[in-house]
Assembly symmetry: C2
Homo-oligomer: 209 residues x 2
DNA sequence: TTGTCAATTGTCAGTGACTGACACTAGCCT
DNA sequence: AGGCTAGTGTCAGTCACTGACAATTGACAA
């Protein structure tokens, strides 16, 4: 763990600045009404440099999201083996929400991240990218679950199915939260818990009130 | 049901031609290696005209998919009221697969459609668009299910959850089928059925072999 | 400290998706 | 036949993104 050289630190600063400025502009003006030139100019680098840090304009919007997802995956990997698949995933997300603050502030304020998430959900191009990224993570999750349970992910359909169902619920809550008038950390946590509680009942062959 | 005028027929022919040529080019050369100019030139219209028919280059790739989805929604709406939510959706898709042929041939051969679906699954930009379109359909489905069961879609979380879980399984099967070496109508049908059978077991708190 | 190497960056030119404006052509309708 | 209007082509422009090349600047050995 040596201190990275000047070159590395400079790169990190540029990258962080690009993320912060981009998210600030995206959340205030909107994603489509923000050009890459604007972002680059604000950080005082060339447009070409922007694209050396981020392959696409969309990518910069997911820089923080990226960290959150990695965090969740790690949390899942650390869940005790006794927990069933669904419980493990449930506890991993909820646990992630609880400690999200500390991890994020280093790059952007939590508040900005929440606004960014809302923007992603309400911007068609970003929502599409978000969903695709999610499916990639789902493959990782399925692998993890399969290992935990000691089954072959290509023989037993249950890992992918469980992950798909779980992710489906997460997606729904994410969307509902994005539209809500009070988008706080607490509200998404509560919503997620509430919806996960209803996963099994929703799949009953018949619903009775 | 009067015969549409010459103007309308001409428009329809141009549109169909654009779809056919586009899908042919996409599936042979790849989506990214096909330019809009190429498609327009092949149909002998200007690029500007292409964009009057399709808002984006992606849209033309989903022209057939669009029909398939509408078909599925209609099939679900016509399911007998006694069927539970999951059964209704299951029967609606499987029924759709069975009669898909007749509906599609009018515009493109079934074979081209299957290849198109594979291309969508393997092209990142299209996969993203596909997933986003799916979430839009899911909202429609949730509404339908809620009506069938006589519950309020904004009060009772079950409709959206059931749809999300179901769609999650459909997405997984779609992806696995896209990667398979033998992508036929029969194989996707069988795969779908097999996976849907395992939805409930996959959500059990504990898996026992 | 200095000189060399390699990583970063800026500039420039080009491609391709997409849009607005405007003129033109061809069905449609009286 | 002739006017109306939907549909089309042309043109110019914006913006995301890329390859090539030259200039700069840390890193590191002599």
């Amino acid at each position: 763990m040596t201190v990275p050289g000047l070159r590395e630190r400079k790169k990190q600063r540029t990258r962080d600045a690009l993320v912060r400025v981009a998210l600030e502009l995206f959340t205030t003006q909107g994603f489509d009404r923000t050009t890459v030139d604007e972002i680059a100019d604000a950080v005082d680098v060339s447009q070409r440099t922007f694209f050396r840090y981020f392959a696409t304009k969309e990518d910069v919007a997911f820089a923080v999201q990226q960290m959150v997802e990695e965090r969740f995956v790690r949390a899942l990997a650390e869940r005790p083996a006794e927990e069933g698949p669904l419980d493990a995933m449930r506890n991993a997300v909820l646990g992630s929400w609880d400690t999200i603050g500390e991890a994020i502030v280093e790059v952007v304020p939590v508040d900005l991240h929440l606004r960014t998430y809302q923007m992603i959900e309400s911007t068609p191009a970003l929502l599409a990218a978000h969903l695709r990224r999610s499916t990639e993570m789902e493959e990782t999750l399925a692998q993890l679950i399969a290992e935990r349970e000691g089954v072959d992910v290509d023989e037993d359909p249950r890992p992918r199915i469980a992950v798909a169902a779980f992710s489906g619920v997460m997606r729904v809550t994410g969307q509902l939260w994005g539209r809500s008038e009070n988008p706080t950390l607490e509200s998404i946590r509560a919503l997620t818990e509430h919806y996960l509680d209803h996963l099994a009942p929703a799949l009953e062959p018949h619903w009775r009130s």
